[in-house]
């Protein structure tokens, strides 16, 4: 196991009034635990407000954790400390962001952006920096002649490749991808997914892939975690979850996707997502679930097995012929 998160809680306080009194809190992540194995890709899916982005940021230390810990290669990461330059434990966990436009400093050339992390961590010297950057660009299928250009000259897909190259420059063990293809066109999306698949295989990278798009996650990830309102509702091998989801929310998510088969129209999920400020008692999905009853007033626990779900009335498994 290369990365583990135990019982992570993140919440934001809402302050208001003249004296800035605490009015409440947004519970973005509520007791999420995850395990990532070496060379594996884990998908974290959910809709807006489920806490997947907050969780990703908490793992890399961009977001403070109120409770819980993150353990990378057996070493607990002290996330609430201000980062110090060159700290080696940090650099094994890198992140790529969603928006290609703001992911690169518009005033720096690609060479400068890519060489900076390496120079800071003494992974290369000023003399061989250009060679190293050329290598990185080659890994993401871009030509080294692009090194001295500025970000505005590149398309969204190319910028994402450059962001991936920057993350790779520190030779991380784990790469966290936060909606990295969501802002891209379908044809470009496919290219980036294929690139990530290649990197996973050739560099032996472990990936955490955060997305709202289940079909994309299907392509890339062996394991999958479904979040709803800050909690894990189902997790397990993605193939199993897709063919036979056990949690009603997972089923609802799959049903809502418009497929290319007109004979299978999307099924509607009733109701609205409750506010993350006031989490409902018991199962957070209770208000929208057709199978809900009194037992659901007790918060269900996530079964800790290879394929686990947090539900009192899990769906019957689909037998595969």
């Amino acid at each position: 196991m290369i990365l583990e998160a135990r019982n992570v809680h993140c919440h934001y306080e809402i302050r208001g009034g003249l004296l800035g009194r605490r009015k409440g809190a947004v519970h973005a992540v509520n007791g999420v635990s995850l395990q990532l194995n070496d060379g594996e890709a884990l998908g974290i899916v959910g809709e807006s407000g489920c806490g997947k982005s907050t969780l990703g940021r908490a793992l890399v230390g961009l977001e403070p954790l109120q409770k819980g810990e993150v353990i990378l290669q057996g070493e607990a990461l002290n996330i609430n400390h201000r980062h110090e330059e060159g700290k080696s434990a940090r650099r094994n966990l890198q992140m790529i962001f969603q928006d290609p436009v703001t992911s690169l400093n518009p005033r720096l050339t690609i060479f400068e952006t890519l060489s900076e992390p390496m120079l800071v961590h003494h992974l290369c010297t000023k003399t061989n920096a250009r060679d190293r950057v050329a290598e990185l660009l080659k890994k993401v299928e871009l030509g080294s002649d692009l090194m001295d250009r500025y970000p505005h000259a590149f398309s969204g897909g190319q910028r994402q490749r450059i962001s991936i190259a920057r993350a790779l420059s520190l030779n991380p063990k784990v790469l966290i991808c936060d909606e990295v293809v969501s802002a891209l066109d379908v044809s470009v999306q496919t290219q980036i997914l294929q690139l990530l698949q290649k990197l996973k295989k050739e560099e032996g990278m472990s990936l955490i892939f955060i997305s709202h798009d289940l079909a994309v996650v299907r392509q890339l990830c062996e394991r999958l975690m479904v979040l709803y309102l800050g909690g894990v509702v189902e997790q397990g091998p993605s193939q199993e979850i897709f063919s036979s989801p056990r949690h009603p929310y997972t089923q609802a998510l799959l049903d809502a996707i418009p497929s290319l088969d007109p004979n299978h129209p999307p099924k509607l999920l009733k109701g609205e997502r409750p506010s993350a400020e006031e989490l409902p008692l018991g199962c957070s999905f209770r208000g929208r679930c057709d199978l809900a009853d009194e037992t659901c007033l007790n918060t269900p626990n996530l079964k800790s097995s290879n394929h686990g779900w947090a539900c009192h009335h899990p769906l019957t498994p689909v037998k595969r012929s």
């Binding site: 809709e47 807006s48 398309s155 897909g157 066109d185 379908v186 044809s187 470009v188 999306q189 496919t190 290219q191 997914l193 294929q194 709202h212 798009d213 289940l214 079909a215 994309v216 299907r218 392509q219 193939q239 897709f242 609802a252 998510l253 799959l254 809502a256 996707i257 418009p258 497929s259 290319l260 088969d261 007109p262 129209p265 999307p266 099924k267 509607l268 999920l269 609205e272 997502r273």
Partner: protein
């Protein structure tokens, strides 16, 4: 055959830049019949959004855009007429919904005022009952609360529903929906599309759906037009298209779509050309696996066998 509600013929839009004219769309033609949902499908930079703006008469700077071709709505050519005609048409006969509901609504006005504005602009008395009913029809459970709220107090899905309600207030004949669900969660998307199609049936509104999501097209649209680099490369009704797409780009799009069943992806190599590099010949040729010499010439339009309305722009024939 009855004449279509909207007929776009050879619409070519160019923007004037410092040195020359940048041709963004090239002879775009398609029809929308009454009560139909027709999709305009393509990726970013294909020109679908600016075509939608041209039809709605919302081009950012009419003097900076050179327009050729016709946009005929209910028999009247909109670009040749008086600009005031647009004004009269909008909201009552022709309406538009946008991608980002939060930026399409004025953050400083409550929902009721913004909806009421539509009536006052048309010189009609404001009917609160009508407003309530329209919010009800888009599936909003508590219309009074929503009417009093400001946009920032409502969720994305709710705002989009409010936008749809506003678009439908005066029962237009055509709604242009520019990526209406792209910014929404998939479960909310399903709800919003459901509302759109229900209203389409109830009121008989036609919908021009601009999207890049082929799944939406498959589920909801009667017909589609595929755009690439400013041109329409294929047109068909949805059933025919899904059964047999004819243009290599359409093929590529379908193969590049990530599937829930885990079918491996096939990417289209290369990237979309930018408008200043558009060629006269087939613009997809450089990425096409079936590229031939003749592709440097403008591609011919071939009619789809079995359905005259459908067709594709390619020199290749039939089965692949």
């Amino acid at each position: 055959m009855t004449s279509p509600l909207l007929k776009v013929k050879d619409l070519s839009l160019g923007v004037k830049t410092s040195n020359h004219l940048l041709q963004l769309t090239d002879r775009v033609s398609f029809d929308i019949g009454e009560g139909e949902m027709v999709a305009l499908v393509g990726e970013s930079g294909c020109g679908k959004s600016i075509t939608a703006m041209a039809i709605a008469g919302l081009l950012p700077d009419p003097n900076g855009v050179k327009i050729e071709g016709e946009v005929v709505f209910e028999g009247k050519d909109l670009w040749k007429g008086n600009p005031k005609d647009w004004q009269n048409l909008r909201a009552s006969r022709l309406s538009m919904i946008f991608q980002e509901p939060s930026s399409a609504l004025n953050p400083l006005m409550p929902v009721s005022s913004q909806m009421a504005e539509i009536f006052t602009l048309k010189g009609r008395p404001v009917d609160m009952q009508h407003l309530r009913r329209s919010l009800d029809e888009v599936g909003i459970p508590d219309p009074d609360r929503v009417l009093k709220s400001y946009p920032h107090e409502l969720s994305g899905g709710m705002l989009q529903r409010v936008m749809i309600a506003m678009a439908l207030l005066l029962s237009p004949k055509l709604i242009i929906a520019d990526e209406p669900t792209t910014a929404l969660d998939v479960t909310v998307q399903a709800q919003v599309m459901e509302i759109l199609t229900k209203l389409q049936k109830d009121i008989g509104t036609a919908i021009l759906l601009i999207t890049h999501n082929l799944g939406l097209v498959a589920q909801y649209a009667n017909a589609l037009n595929v755009m690439y680099a400013g041109r329409i490369v294929e047109r068909a009704n949805t059933r025919d298209f899904l059964a047999k797409p004819l243009h290599p780009y359409s093929h590529g799009l379908l193969k590049a779509l990530p599937r829930l069943d885990g079918t491996p992806l096939e990417a289209i190599p290369g990237s979309v050309p930018s408008p200043d590099k558009f060629s006269d010949g087939c613009r997809f040729a450089e990425r096409c696996t079936h590229r031939k010499e003749a592709c440097s010439q403008p591609p011919p339009w071939k009619v789809r066998s079995g359905n005259e309305d459908g067709g594709y722009a390619c020199i290749l024939e039939g089965e692949r």
